[in-house]
């Protein structure tokens, strides 16, 4: 446990250091965006002092770490809003946007992977693996644009709004979430199915599966009971460790494209405008999330596999 915590701290230090180096030290200079091109030397000096640009490297890095651990993340450079309140506002939107697609995409992947692994070598396996490779070859962008045209414009079925997020009840939620969710499922399904199929194929070639067959277990028992339970470590690892990436990286493109004010859109805007407090907070908190997941994962492993003590 102590080892875990030390590893976790080392990881957080590393991530925050790299992100600090890239986004803050080498990142874009905010001075002139804030006060315009025609400023006096004293105005410039004052703004640079406010932004902390006049501090030495180590001082600014340590300040960042302190901010991160006290969750006092400062205010956005561009809007002046507190970063913590921005996160509080945008994170639920991103979760509401991404979770349905994430869950359905993984469940479908597990089901298709089980079917393909069980029917290994037959036409249905070839169909599923073939479609997976095809799905992996279609860019996220193409899927988003094609689904938008197909479902949200007069050239297709014109059923859903083209973009935006004006959600106040369940029906408006479903209206806005459908196209992004379908996009997310389509873009991840190929990868998920392939991954899960490989895990299930590996597990179904184990000797104890042959034993279970020799004792009269049915195919449903073999796949649903023995193969699935033995695969739980691999399955839960994939699901848990992709949560931060889906919530932050995955939402960046979807939210930017559909104009949804979630954490991905905020991060993207912060990148293009050089809004450091937001970037520092997002990257730092993602690293913290990874460390927490690692700790949770240890408990989950112990739960699903008696060999891990």
């Amino acid at each position: 446990m102590l080892r875990k915590i030390i590893h976790g701290l080392a990881l957080i230090l590393g991530v925050t250091f790299i992100s600090f180096l890239l986004m803050v030290w080498f990142g874009p200079d905010q001075t002139y965006t804030l006060i315009g091109k025609h400023a006096t030397a004293s105005q410039i000096a004052e703004v640079r002092h406010q932004l902390g640009y006049d501090q030495p490297f180590t001082r600014r890095y340590l300040d960042y770490l302190v901010e991160l651990f006290t969750l006092d993340l400062g205010a956005s450079n561009s809007s002046g809003e507190q970063v913590s309140s921005i996160l509080k506002r945008t994170l639920p939107i991103s979760l509401a946007l991404m979770l349905p697609g994430f869950i359905i995409g993984n469940l479908l992947g597990i089901v298709l992977g089980l079917v393909a692994a069980f029917r290994r070598g037959t036409w249905i396996d070839r169909l599923i693996t073939g479609l997976s490779v095809t799905g992996m070859s279609i860019s996220f962008l193409i899927i988003i644009i094609a689904l938008q045209v197909l479902l949200s414009t007069p050239y297709g079925f014109n059923l859903f709004p083209v973009r935006g997020w004006r959600v106040d009840n369940l029906s408006s939620y479903l209206t806005y979430v459908t196209v992004p969710t379908l996009s997310l499922i389509m873009v991840t399904l190929g990868y998920n199915t392939r991954f899960y199929r490989a895990v299930f194929v590996e597990e179904s070639s184990r000797e104890h599966i042959r034993t279970a067959r020799a004792f009269g277990a049915s195919p449903a028992t073999l796949m649903g009971r023995h193969v699935l339970k033995n695969s739980l470590v691999a399955v839960s690892t994939r699901i848990m460790f992709s949560i931060p990436l889906v919530v932050v990286s995955g939402s960046l493109l979807i939210e930017t494209y559909f104009g949804i004010p979630g954490i991905g859109k905020v991060s993207f805007d912060a990148i293009t405008s050089g809004d450091q407090p937001i970037l520092k907070a997002v990257v730092g908190l993602t690293a913290v999330m990874f460390v927490l997941i690692q700790i949770v994962a240890d408990f989950v492993y112990r739960l699903v596999d008696p060999r891990i003590a």
Partner: protein
């Protein structure tokens, strides 16, 4: 003579290899009699394990092709059963235990769960009854604290205990036939003897006939009543154990016996290996497959396949497939 509980006629298995279709089991016929322990002996790769898989109906179907005139288990012809009926037979009327009990048991289910699942499946007992039967079975195979074992997982037990659990699982439904595929190979010598003893004792009291697959002639001597010697997918000799060790008639059997190191009366004999290599199953020679390694082979052996026949006249149960058998004194039963 007891009647046969398992009678196999012309069982063949072919698998696809890089060199084409290979017949790894070639027209095997034998019967297993009530209450007997029959050894199926051969080097690794001779087709004994795939024979076991074929008897259980466990050869993966597009990869291996199984044909047989009949596999009679009691009054059921397993060749003619569909998959669902076969599943009802597996684990209840014909059971199997494996070489490495650590990998053969599911690592993420407790012993109790795996044992009672089989009992519930085949004996239709409810959860409570099945647990009680499981504890009884574990005690029957000599596990003192059966209740603790029920809660354990395979990795928490020793090799010998794991194999006992396998035996308990396989015998729980009092099967007619138990196939034991190298059941003691992964165990140390003292445990080997105990497990073999346990097996024959249970077979006796449950009336279960045992097909004991092994490469180890010591195991045959210790546990079997009769033995089949297999080479390249064919039975080359079939004999009561006593006759097999005192008067083998097939040159391959004789070669196997000469290759066993033994220490007798302060005199250490030199071990003799059989010259040459086992041929690849997709490129077997014509005639007798052993001819190329056999000191007695002639041109007839390389063209004409010897058939399994009685050693001394029709009545004998000592049979061999050889054109030039070693001369045997008329000791046969």
């Amino acid at each position: 003579m007891n009647r046969a509980v398992l009678s196999v006629r012309n069982l063949s298995v072919s698998v696809q290899t890089g060199l084409g279709l290979a017949r790894v089991v070639d027209r095997l016929s034998f019967s297993l009699r009530e209450g007997e322990v029959l050894g199926l002996v051969g080097e690794s790769g001779c087709g004994k394990s795939i024979t076991a898989a074929a008897l259980m109906g466990l050869v993966p179907s597009p990869a291996g092709i199984v044909t047989a005139d009949q596999i009679m288990l009691g009054d059921k012809n397993l060749v003619q059963l569909d998959e669902a009926s076969l599943r009802r037979v597996r684990g209840s009327e014909i059971s199997m235990i494996f070489q490495e009990p650590l990998t053969a048991l599911d690592p993420v289910f407790s012993i109790g769960s795996q044992l009672s699942t089989v009992i519930r499946r085949h004996r239709g007992e409810n959860r409570h009854q099945a647990r009680r039967s499981s504890v009884e079975m574990l005690e029957r195979v000599g596990m003192a604290d059966a209740h603790r074992i029920m809660q354990s997982y395979p990795h928490q037990l020793s090799g010998g205990m794991r194999q006992r659990v396998m035996i308990a699982m396989a015998m729980a439904c009092r099967p007619r036939v138990l196939i034991a595929d190298e059941p003691t190979t992964a165990l140390d010598v003292t445990t080997q003897a105990q497990v073999l003893e346990q097996l024959s004792e249970l077979g006796q009291s449950f009336g279960t006939a045992i097909l004991l697959i092994t490469h180890d002639l010591g195991v045959v001597a210790q546990a079997c009543d009769r033995a089949l010697i297999m080479y390249c997918g064919r039975i080359v000799e079939e004999a009561p154990v006593e006759a097999l060790f005192t008067a083998p008639t097939h040159p391959y059997t004789a070669g196997l016996l000469a290759a066993v190191p033994r220490i007798s009366s302060a005199q250490v004999q030199r071990v003799q290996a059989i010259p040459g290599l086992v041929p690849h199953p997709a490129a077997l020679p014509d005639g007798c497959h052993f001819a190329d390694r056999c000191p007695r082979a002639d041109s007839q052996c390389r063209t004409l396949t010897p058939q399994l026949q009685a050693v001394d006249g029709q009545k004998s149960i000592h049979r061999h497939a050889c054109h030039h058998p070693l001369s045997s004194p008329s000791h046969a039963h």
